[in-house]
């Protein structure tokens, strides 16, 4: 009764109750919008953090040394036997003649990356004529110097709390003033494998390992996935067995990925005796993991081919197999490819099962084949994220950027394929 009285007083002015209902409506709508904004701002925050952590890894600090390739150093028969670290140390000493004490010398030498000696060796082996001359050589600085140059070590901090000592700071400042310290594009990051020294660590080994692993995954999971999708969608009779396979595939799609790692460890490594840490085992495990995705996408895309196509082909006398291979499959293929690419993107980002099969080993060499031990990109990220050195944080973030670029490229290709070959029946 009360309601009727209220509304009866004025149809043009909303009652208190109506106002309350509208308020609830507005409030709820705002909550929804807030949820979306929250989720999207998290993405933005994530990308921002990773970018701001990682972009500095694309440059690296180099130090210019005046190296005198004294002939007496190369008196030995083999060029490889010469004392290259001594050469580096000598040229550092000549830059700072004031440094005499043993401790200070040690601190001075630690400004240079251990790779400097190899760089000199390369130079000499490439051109032995430089022996006896003095040359200006740019060599990698130590990762602590690099961190300081990138502003990631606070100069104002107390000396005991920072990794660069005060006297090292004055030397670095002198080097900067002389123009001997320079940040250059970090080619090492793209051309070398893993290393314990952050300034020498690169992602080439991991990228190649990922590539080999994905190659195996693709070459197994695509044919098998397409074949099973075709069988289940076009040939399978409706019976218990088919039902069982279907339930199985749906469940496998939701099994935690680490379980596939356990399977790989128990069957591929312990039972079949395949070598640990290799792309071949990784590829097999990821194949089993991505198959459900590919089969489900493949079935959806076969389902979208209208029955009239099949009926027309059967009507002019094609066999069931000819109908499928000549007509249905070509029409469904773009959709299947899209699903496969999405599955491959999933496989590229997967880490947990690969940890199980031993792909966490520290591997410096760049893998040459599918049976060489290798790392993959996400596992490399995991390893670097665990490293205590400050300089590895930026490498991790940079490796994540590379991984995300690959993923974005693959997913955009999938979207492009879908847009380009989408058929509206």
């Amino acid at each position: 009764m009360k309601n009727i009285e209220n509304t009866g007083t004025s149809l043009l002015h909303p009652t208190r109750q109506l106002k309350r209902r509208y308020r609830a409506e507005k409030w709820f709508q705002r909550m929804g919008l807030l949820a979306i904004v929250l989720a999207l701002s998290f993405i933005a925050f994530l990308f921002f953090t990773i970018f701001s952590d990682g972009y500095t890894a694309f440059t690296q600090t180099y130090i210019e040394l005046d190296v005198h390739f004294a002939p007496e150093v190369f008196s030995q028969e083999k060029l490889a036997r010469a004392n290259y670290p001594g050469l580096v140390k000598g040229s550092m000493r000549s830059l700072f003649p004031g440094v005499t004490s043993r401790r200070e010398k040690k601190q001075l030498y630690s400004l240079i990356s251990p790779s400097a000696a190899y760089r000199l060796q390369e130079l000499v082996e490439a051109d032995p004529k430089i022996i006896g001359t003095t040359k200006k050589v740019w060599v990698l600085a130590d990762d602590d110097v690099d961190m300081l140059m990138k502003g990631k070590i606070d100069r104002k901090q107390d000396e005991s709390a920072r990794r660069i000592r005060d006297n090292q700071l004055t030397w670095i400042d002198k080097l900067i003033a002389d123009g001997r310290l320079e940040k250059r594009f970090n080619w090492t990051f793209f051309t070398s494998g893993d290393s314990r020294e952050p300034e020498l660590a690169g992602i080439l080994g991991a990228v190649k390992g990922s590539f080999l692993t994905l190659l195996i995954t693709l070459s197994l999971s695509f044919p098998i996935g397409v074949a099973s999708a075709v069988y289940l969608e076009e040939f399978a009779p409706e019976n218990k067995w088919t039902d069982l396979i279907e339930i199985n595939i749906n469940n496998l799609a939701a099994v935690p990925s680490i379980i596939f790692g356990l399977l790989g460890l128990a069957i591929f490594i312990n039972f079949w005796g395949l070598p640990r840490s290799t792309p071949v085992v990784g590829g097999l495990v990821l194949t089993l993991m991505t198959l459900p995705t590919i089969i489900i996408a493949g079935r959806a895309s076969l389902k979208s081919v209208p029955p009239s196509i099949r009926e027309a082909a059967l009507g002019v006398g094609a066999s069931k197999m000819q109908t499928v291979t000549h007509h249905v499959l070509p029409l469904a293929l773009p959709g299947m490819l899209t699903g496969t690419i999405i599955g491959m993107a999933q496989a590229l980002g997967e880490t947990a099962p690969l940890l199980m099969i031993g792909m966490v080993a520290f591997i410096v060499d760049i893998p040459g084949g599918i049976t060489d031990p290798s790392a993959v990109l996400p596992v490399q990220i995991f390893l670097w994220a665990d490293s205590p050195e400050r300089a590895f944080t930026e490498k991790t973030a940079a490796a994540i950027m590379i991984l995300l670029i690959f993923l974005v490229a693959m997913n955009s290709f999938a979207v492009f394929l879908r847009k380009k070959f989408e058929i509206k029946w």
Partner: protein, 461 residues
């Protein structure tokens, strides 16, 4: 061996195809045109090609599987007597060293002459078996193809044979899904049963202490190993609970907003943006949780005067919750879309506001589907590995405090199995027992969820 055999097999089958097809053509010409053949010439070609490559590939793969054990047993038989008297483990070591020397992996300086001799023997055996089997495989490729070639005549039902074979291969491919499940069940089950031989099942399931460090030597003190998994379950549930309390409200509200309020334009770009969250690799979330979110929470907690562990359950749970948002939102979105428009129209027509329609009509109608999607998301959260490995701790404390470090089932599996271990110690086997529980539990959740969602869809179709 592998480098030339596969191309060889391919080449032979290609040749078989050509000869088969041209013989069919010749027969057709001789007996009055193409119509007199039972199948197309290409079917005859496929028939000969298949009869050459299928047996060859079978032998090739079969040899690949048994090769190692066959050669090892051949070599072991002819080892000197004093090596043969070694115990099983030592013999394996010797055999491994021999293989390393033989394959040139690395030649250590102190290789004993006996092993050097064995390595030479190994190389020799490898050589002649490879030649023998290689020849066998080539024969397997050529002889059946020749027989098939002889069998070609105009009445041979080549198409049926080829299509039957292809069909069998298709069936074989689709059973791989079942084989995978069986493989998971058996590999995990057997190792878990071995574990339960040494640790009683009830101790594992109800024990309150988890410290999987077992004694290496009999006389070692203080590390007898305790395998009570309750602290791990509590940690897993705690993190999953935190994750779900982020993901359910945000995901549901986002899904409802996008399907009921948002303009089509907002919908077309906001939905893919949310899906990005699902496409980011979990290792990236782990990095983010460990290096950005966890320190942030710790600092906030310290500012508020709270004791916060630097590997708090809260950080891992929050980030995991964000990761799960798109699973909840896209599944709920599908479910909400499946609610018939007539229900909405009816409610709005009676004067209900949109919010009232959603609360009293759409959500009750979509409830089973929503529950299903939440169950799927929970199984995701429980099985998620990298975020917790990187951001949650290892200490198995029995606590519900989200500011402390807890550990989860997946973290323990990873820590127990990464690195080199003996495969007989309860420590490694415990990982398989945990894996079994994880598998059974997530399977149960998925099964129920998929059933519920499927039932619900049928209801409105």
């Amino acid at each position: 061996m592998y480098t030339y055999l596969l191309p060889c097999i391919l080449l032979i089958s290609a040749g078989a195809y050509y000869f088969g097809a041209s013989r069919a053509n010749a027969i057709a010409e001789a007996s009055g045109g193409m119509r007199s053949l039972h199948s197309l010439p290409s079917h005859y070609g496929m028939f000969t090609a298949m009869s050459s490559c299928i047996p060859a590939l079978l032998v090739f793969v079969g040899w690949g599987i048994v090769k190692d054990s066959v050669i090892t047993s051949l070599v072991t038989k002819s080892l000197p007597a004093d090596l043969l008297q070694l115990s099983g483990n030592e013999l394996t070591l010797v055999l491994n060293e021999m293989k390393n020397v033989a394959l040139g992996g690395f030649a250590s300086h102190n290789t004993s002459p006996a092993i050097q001799a064995a390595a030479n023997l190994y190389i020799g055996t490898l050589d002649w078996t490879n030649k023998l089997v290689g020849g066998g495989i080539i024969c397997c490729a050529i002889i059946p193809a020749a027989i098939a070639y002889r069998r070609i005549n105009k009445d041979l039902r080549a198409r049926n044979l080829v299509e039957g074979t292809v069909r069998i291969m298709l069936i074989g491919c689709s059973t791989i899904a079942i084989l995978t499940t069986l493989g998971i069940v058996f590999s995990v089950l057997f190792e878990a049963l071995r574990f339960f031989h040494s640790i009683p099942f009830s101790d594992f399931l109800f024990g309150l202490q988890w410290s999987p460090q077992t004694a290496m030597r009999a006389d070692q003190v203080g590390s007898s190993g305790a395998f009570g998994a309750v602290p791990i379950f509590v940690g897993t549930i705690l993190i999953a609970f935190i994750a779900m309390s982020v993901a359910i409200p945000v995901g549901m509200l986002a899904a409802i907003y996008l399907s009921e309020y948002a303009s089509p334009r907002l919908r077309t770009w906001a939905k893919p943006m949310l899906e990005i969250l699902a496409g980011i690799p979990t290792v990236v979330y782990g990095f983010f949780a460990a290096l950005t979110v966890a320190p942030l929470i710790r600092d906030l907690g310290h500012a508020a005067g709270l004791q916060v562990s630097s590997e708090s359950a809260l950080a891992a749970g929050l980030v995991m919750g964000v990761m799960i948002i798109p699973f909840v939102s896209s599944l709920s979105d599908d479910v909400i879309h499946a609610v018939p428009q007539s229900l909405r129209d009816g409610s709005l027509g009676l004067g209900a506001t949109r919010f009232e329609t959603i609360r009293h009509v759409i959500i009750p109608a979509a409830l089973p589907g929503i529950v299903g999607s939440i169950l799927l998301a929970v199984s995701r959260a429980i099985g998620e590995t990298m975020i917790v490995v990187m951001a949650a701790g290892l200490s198995a404390d029995l606590t519900f405090n989200p500011l402390k470090a807890v550990t989860t089932v997946t973290v323990q599996i990873v820590t127990l199995l990464v690195g080199d271990q003996e495969f007989d110690s309860p420590k490694t086997l415990a990982a398989f027992a945990l894996g079994l529980l994880l598998f059974v539990f997530t399977l149960f959740l998925n099964f129920v969820a998929l059933r519920v969602v499927r039932k619900y869809r049928e209801q409105y179709e």
